[in-house]
Amino acid sequence: MAELFDKQYLKKLEYLELIARRMVFGQQQALRPSLRKGASIEFKDYREYSPGDDPRAVDWSVYARLGEMVVKLYRQEQELDLWVLLDSSASMAFGEPSKFDHARKIAAALAYIGMANMDSASVLPFAHELLEGRDHLRGRSRVFHLLDYLRELKGTGQTDLIATTRKFVSRVRRPGMVVIISDFYGLELAQRALDQLRFFRHEIYVIQVATPWELDPPIRGELRLVDLETSGHEDLTITDSMLRRYRQAFEKFSADLKRYAMRYSIGYARAETNVPFDTFLVDVLQRGGLVA
């Protein structure tokens, strides 16, 4: 996998800057503007002085004109925590190349972008629950550590996004940017999970990974369909009409996810595995607002 991220590509990513749709709080002042007022060079507002305020923040010229002690407030720049939740369930192993491979490339790229801009980036895989990943990675030097980790990561188990987000919000208290890369099957459960994240004021992005097979399955006839996650099977006769209904249903499934995302200001993008991940990041995510 590492060979996909050559230097030229990585340099190209360096020009991209992650932006957040909402200002978030950070423990370190970084290059991201924050809604919280703090120390920086960009004036934001005044407020009355309160005991304990830094006297250096008092605007003495105002005091001279008006006789009131006001403190200058500046837009505070803080660190952006990027959390990439990577679906590593068995269903992600579907396709050639597999959705999981594609998702890992995207996750690694996003994390690399975050790390290159001195933000902390975390990649946490999940299946039936949130798994231990690599968190709070800072600096480019850590990227190879991340890539090694992702290379060894296996897709297995069933997806339980609710259990995953429940564990995530209990573990990460401070709002951050959460990018969920998954196929999002079982959309109703996925929406409940996203609701949990919204409740904790995370800025959320969802990347729906899909293969061309899922968009237009090249199958027909008497087939035994085997579920990759549960290994359950059913015998079905796939007809043209059923395929037509499937395509309509899949498009509706994607549209519902996108509609949900738009309603709650959640970034949405669909990553198709036949589109190279770098093209996806540069073109598709740029249009979706994830990449500036």
Binding site: I219, E222, M242, A249
Partner: protein
């Protein structure tokens, strides 16, 4: 049911092959999907759990097994019969009589003849074994249309060459011919395809054990002219036309018959014909000039050919008789001739002695009939009819070789016009000539030892009627037979004796000249009278005779011989053909074993059709997903 090609069952191994392939088919190919639940929502709640769904799964296999079974059976050429069928030699006799031209309303107005042809095609089609076939067309005379063959298609092709005949058929001769042709054959069988009208077939079947009768037709609605005859009134004053109309149906029918003389209506006679009976009528016509009479029934029915009949009315003409006789022996002849009234032209007829006769000019010697009573003229006229009594000239090819004493006299040819109404029994003859005929002659009466006593010679220009005894040496002049004999002679030479052809023929007859034609005639012309135009044909005259076969239709033929015309009417006039009602009795059907068809088709063809339908059905059920 049995199979004619049981080897086809060896192909039954295809069935387990299909089952195997089907099992492979239903062992579905596995396809990994990321989310099965997503597909299940599309497929429905319970796709293959119900009994119906399970049946659907196996329906396709069942259909294919049924298809294979049908094809195997079709390949095996199955035979559906009550018993076993062995190859036979089958002579088919197709009744080609006029009644077979009856139109059957129950079969789209097809004639029985057409139905019979179809029946033969059916029989050849549904005989499952390789029989030997023969086809005989039973028309006026039986004719082999297809000699023995094992190719049933040849029979069907030969059927196309059989033209409908509108006359009577001779089934008995056809059966006799078939029996001759069947001699030496294994398992012989005669199949008669006929309407069996008027019981023509019953006797055949009863006479033979190997005759099967296949009946065609069931219509009985027919009213037809079964007889029409004309005779001159005894006083030569009028024609009497006798007409007989038969009703074949089981209901009384009221209709009318129209008589036309030379296309002019002379009488329209309503009548009521009782069921299965005849209506007879005699019409008296004053037609001294003669003419062509037609009788037509004004009612459409199943058989049209017998609705019209024709008759020829000869012109009325009194005979010119010249009696050459010694005066003292002429009494009985003169009395008898006088008694004939208008039949004899009394003004021109006379009695002369031989001497007077010899002195007559040639024109005066000619008469319709010259009677030589015991005398022999030196020279006979070149043309005419002559009655010789007790002696004859050398023109007559008969020689006296002895004398018969007290010979008996008996009629040898009863159906001749000269002997009608004649009773010669008990006639006493004292002596007579014992005669040797040097040429063939019509012997009308002979003695007990076979010596001709009354005989007739016909030549192209001369006719001789000879009595080999002197009537005065017998009691014949005192008997009624004498004037009757003379009257028959006069009437015969005035009508039939002069006629070249008979006035009545039935369809299919060959019209031959009744007497030799003059040697200067090499051909005759004849025409069918009817419609506005007359189309003439010609027939060759060979050995002073002609033969014309143009009697396939009802009508009148006109023959032209030099300047003279002769007319002949051609009619069906057959009671057997008019009575088209058929017998419901089944005769000898058991002798003919046929395989049972399926829906009018041979079993193998029906099975192939079923297989095709099943294939189409299987395709449809698969296409519309009724099966899996």
């Amino acid at each position: 049911m049995s199979l004619l090609a049981p080897w086809a069952l060896w192909f039954g191994f295809v069935a387990p092959l299909i089952v195997g392939l089907y099992l492979l088919k239903i062992r579905r190919q596995q396809e990994l999907v990321p989310a099965l639940e997503f597909w299940m929502r599309l497929a429905g709640p319970a796709p293959v759990r119900s009994l119906f769904q399970r049946l659907k799964r196996w329906l396709s296999l069942l259909l294919w097994l049924a298809i294979v079974a049908c094809l195997l059976l079709a390949l095996g050429n199955p035979v559906i019969t009550a018993g076993s069928i062995k190859p036979q030699s089958i002579a088919i006799i197709l009744d080609n009589s006029a009644s077979m031209q009856t139109q059957e309303t129950d079969h789209g107005d097809q004639t029985r003849f057409e139905l019979a042809r179809k029946e033969i095609e059916r029989i050849t089609k549904f005989r499952p074994v390789r029989d030997e076939w023969l086809l005989i067309n039973a028309a006026r005379r039986p004719q082999v249309m297809q000699p023995w063959t094992r190719d049933r298609n040849a029979i069907r092709e030969a059927l196309q060459d059989v033209a409908p005949h509108r006359g009577s058929s001779d089934l008995r001769s056809a059966a006799a011919l078939a029996n001759q042709l069947l001699s030496g054959k294994v398992d012989p069988l005669i199949v008669v395809i006929s309407d069996g009208a008027h019981g023509a077939v019953e006797s055949l079947v009863q006479d033979s054990q190997n005759v099967a009768f296949v009946r065609v037709g069931n219509t009985q609605d027919n009213l037809g002219i079964t007889d029409i005859r004309v005779r001159m009134h005894p006083q030569m004053t009028a024609h009497h036309v006798y007409l007989s109309v038969s009703n074949s149906s089981d209901q009384d029918i009221e209709s009318q018959v129209t008589f036309e003389l030379d296309r002019n209506v002379v009488e329209v006679r309503p009548f009521s014909a009782k069921a299965r009976s005849e209506w007879r009528h005699t019409l008296t016509l004053q037609a001294p000039e003669g003419g062509v009479l037609s009788a037509r029934i004004e009612r459409p029915d199943a058989l049209a050919i017998d609705n019209q009949a024709f008759a020829v009315l000869e012109p009325v003409r009194a005979a010119h008789i010249l009696l050459v006789s010694p005066e003292e022996q002429a009494y009985f002849f003169e009395q008898s001739l006088l008694a004939m009234g208008p039949l004899v032209d009394q003004a021109r007829s006379r009695t002369v002695s031989l001497e007077e006769y010899e002195l007559l000019a040639d024109a005066e010697r000619s008469a319709d009939l010259v009677i030589f009573n015991g005398v022999k003229p030196t020279v006979l006229p070149a043309l005419g009819a002559f009655l010789f009594v007790n002696s004859w000239t050398s023109d007559v090819p008969a020689s006296t070789i002895g004398e018969l004493t007290m010979p008996s006299l008996s009629i040898a040819k009863r159906d001749h016009p000269l002997t009608q109404y004649l009773n010669l029994g008990g006639v006493t003859i004292a002596r007579a000539h014992e005669v040797d005929l040097r040429e063939p002659a019509v012997v009308l009466a002979s003695s007990q030892n076979g010596s001709p006593m009354i005989f007739l010679f016909s030549r192209p220009d001369q006719q001789f009627l000879c009595l080999a005894f002197d009537v005065l040496d017998s009691d014949l002049p005192f008997r009624n037979a004498f004037p009757i004999l003379l009257r028959n002679a006069v009437a015969y030479f005035m009508t039939q004796g002069h006629a070249w052809v008979k006035d009545q023929y039935t369809i299919g007859d060959t019209i031959r000249s009744l007497r030799p034609l003059p040697s200067n005639i090499s051909s005759i012309k004849f025409a069918r009278m009817g419609g506005e135009s007359i189309s003439e044909e010609s027939a060759l005259v060979e050995q002073n005779e002609f033969a014309v076969d143009a009697t396939s239709e009802v009508g009148v033929l006109r023959f032209a011989l030099n300047d003279e015309f002769a007319y002949a009417a051609v009619n069906l006039a057959s009671y057997d053909e008019t009575m088209i009602a058929v017998s419901e009795q089944k005769l000898g059907e058991s002798h003919l074993s046929l395989s049972t068809g399926l829906g009018g088709m041979t079993p193998w063809l029906a099975l192939s059709a079923i297989a095709t339908l099943l294939i189409a059905g299987e395709w449809l059920t698969y296409h519309f997903r009724w099966t899996e």
